[in-house]
């Protein structure tokens, strides 16, 4: 494990911790964006550059914006109305559940053959062409299923908007 890995991990974990503990919701989202960029850096470290770039494109460019729009509609964004509940009953129960989930997930992930630490090879260069070929040759059914899901979501959004427009007329 080289120095770059530890630095990027520190930044990522810092982003995640800030995202759950900051007072102002918009600051939490900014910390979440830092977390996403840290994950993208991890991908780059693992030489999966396509995945890292797509992570930035989708998560930072779209998902974070979606979260920001949703936050715009909540009240008490600054978190200054009312006391904060830290180390109360709710906090402890959440921490216990999160810890249990983490242990279960770690067990499940490490027992999968995919999680074996592969021998370090500098020749392992991912190529976008191979990802594309794999997508349309081996994994075409999940690809098409996701495409149908996204299309359904898009059409659903348009239908909801159309209903609103017709109601307002």
């Amino acid at each position: 494990m080289n120095l770059a890995f530890w630095i990027i991990s520190a930044v990522t974990v810092l982003g995640a911790l800030l995202a759950v503990s900051l007072r102002n919701l918009v600051h939490c989202v900014l910390a979440l964006i830092l977390f996403f960029i840290g994950i993208a850096a991890h991908y780059f470290l693992l030489r999966a550059d396509f995945l890292g770039t797509v992570q930035i494109l989708i998560y930072v460019g779209a998902v974070a914006v979606l979260i920001l729009f949703a936050i715009m509609l909540t009240h008490n964004v600054t978190g200054t109305d009312g006391p904060r509940e830290i180390l109360g009953v709710k906090w402890w129960s959440g921490a216990v559940i999160a810890a249990a989930l983490a242990i279960l997930l770690k067990k499940a992930i490490l027992s999968d053959p995919l999680a074996m630490v592969l021998p370090a090879g500098d020749k392992a260069q991912s190529s976008v062409a191979e990802i594309g070929r794999a997508l349309v040759a081996n994994w075409v059914v999940p690809l098409e299923a996701i495409a149908i899901l996204l299309t359904a979501a898009l059409i659903g959004a348009v239908v909801i908007a159309l209903e609103e427009i017709q109601k307002s007329r």
């Binding site: 900014l30 930035i56 930072v60 460019g61 914006v65 920001l68 729009f69 260069q125 976008v128």
Partner: protein
């Protein structure tokens, strides 16, 4: 960067490798930091003078001959202005937004090749990186509007985000057409593929039918992503005072302008790379002379694209927000999808003239269909009752 490393290593053979590596790392960054903000400063002046000439007046011509010291005067003025932060603004976000809007603009220049082998980082996923980093500016726009605690700023920010996100889709799809034709995501390879042919010009992707449509889509998308006219609704001065940068003064405002102009020039640079053949032109090739001629060609094309941007700014009126969104989703997106199919035709139809005919016909038919479907309703002849 590898090319520069090779050149330096062979020239200064007795310097240790780590020093050469650091130099090879710093030279492209110094180039980007030096050249592009200088071009930005020059562009502000050229834009004002060109807009003035279009509007039958001189541009700024008091500061220095032909107004050449005007950017200096502007910079000095804006440095000396008072930096006002509203009392109820979110200080951290308000401070961070102008910084975050300049960074993506500068990052795109890393993958724009200026001469054979001269690209700051030769990423295998160059084009995707450029487009992904361009989407990071959306967050900064929203942060700027939100942090100002001003209803007009939030409105401007929401409209800016909606505009940028909607126009990203046809832009990326137009880029996908070029990627399909070139078979690679690396910008350096795409430019090399556009060499050869008559005078190094006839292989440019803009001279192919799908390339022309993609070029138009990319220009429109680039104008919309950097919020320039005719898509400058986010900063529409006549409607929203300043939109998302209303509450900024002093150097933060200058950073907003710089970020917007740098993003616009970066999109122009990517357009030149993808469609206009990058640094390819008569006389460009490897070696010192060929490299210098290539650099000249690149900057001539970049200047041409910036000039086109300025020309469009001086001519077309601003689009209303519903017209803007309708245009993106109803006209540009279907056209981009149709363009991708056209590239498929081009690739698989083997006799070249047949490929030309079928691709051109397909694109023309779909263009006419889309514009016909989206044409606004014809107004009936009005009847005046009291004439």
């Amino acid at each position: 960067m590898e090319t520069i490393y090779q050149i330096l290593h062979t020239t200064f053979a007795n310097v240790p490798a780590w020093a050469v590596q650091i130099a090879a790392f710093l030279i492209p960054i110094a180039f980007i930091f030096g050249v592009y903000p200088a071009i930005f400063a020059l562009t502000t002046l050229v834009e004002r003078k060109a807009l003035g000439r279009i509007q039958n007046r001189y541009g700024p011509n008091r500061v220095g001959i032909f107004g050449i010291l005007q950017p200096l005067a502007d910079g000095l003025k804006i440095l000396l202005k008072e930096d006002i932060v509203p009392r109820v603004a979110d200080k951290f976000t308000h401070f961070l937004a102008p910084v975050l809007i300049v960074i993506p603009g500068l990052l795109v220049y890393l993958v724009v090749p200026v001469a054979p082998g001269m690209v700051a980082v030769d990423l295998k996923i160059g084009v995707l990186f450029a487009l992904a980093v361009g989407t990071m500016s959306v967050i900064a726009l929203f942060m700027a509007g939100w942090a100002s605690r001003n209803k007009f700023s939030v409105l401007g920010a929401v409209r800016a985000v909606a505009q940028v996100v909607s126009y990203e889709v046809p832009t990326v799809m137009a880029g996908v057409a070029v990627i399909m034709a070139a078979g690679t995501l690396s910008t350096l390879t795409i430019v090399q593929r556009q060499g050869g042919g008559l005078l190094n010009i006839s292989n440019w992707y803009v001279f192919r039918p799908w390339g022309l449509v993609g070029f138009a889509l990319f220009i429109i998308g680039g104008l919309a992503e950097s919020a320039r006219c005719p898509f400058d609704l986010p900063e529409a001065e006549s409607e929203l005072i300043g939109g998302y940068h209303t509450e900024y003064s002093g150097f933060k405002f200058a950073l907003f302008q710089m970020g917007e102009y740098l993003a616009g020039m970066a999109m122009a640079g990517v357009t030149v790379t993808l469609f206009l053949g990058g640094y390819m032109g008569p006389g460009s090739g490897p070696g010192l002379a060929g490299g210098l001629i290539s650099m000249l060609w690149f900057f001539v094309k970049l200047a041409g694209m910036i000039g086109l941007n300025i020309w469009i700014r001086g001519t077309w009126p601003r689009l209303r927000v519903d017209q803007l969104m309708g245009f993106a989703w109803k006209v540009l997106l279907p056209l981009a999808l149709v363009n991708i199919v056209a590239v498929g035709f081009w690739h698989f139809l083997t006799p070249r003239p047949l490929a030309w005919i079928i691709t051109t016909g397909w694109l023309v038919i779909w263009f006419l269909v889309l514009t016909k479907c989206n044409a606004s309703a014809k107004l009936e002849k009005r009847e005046y009752r009291y004439v």
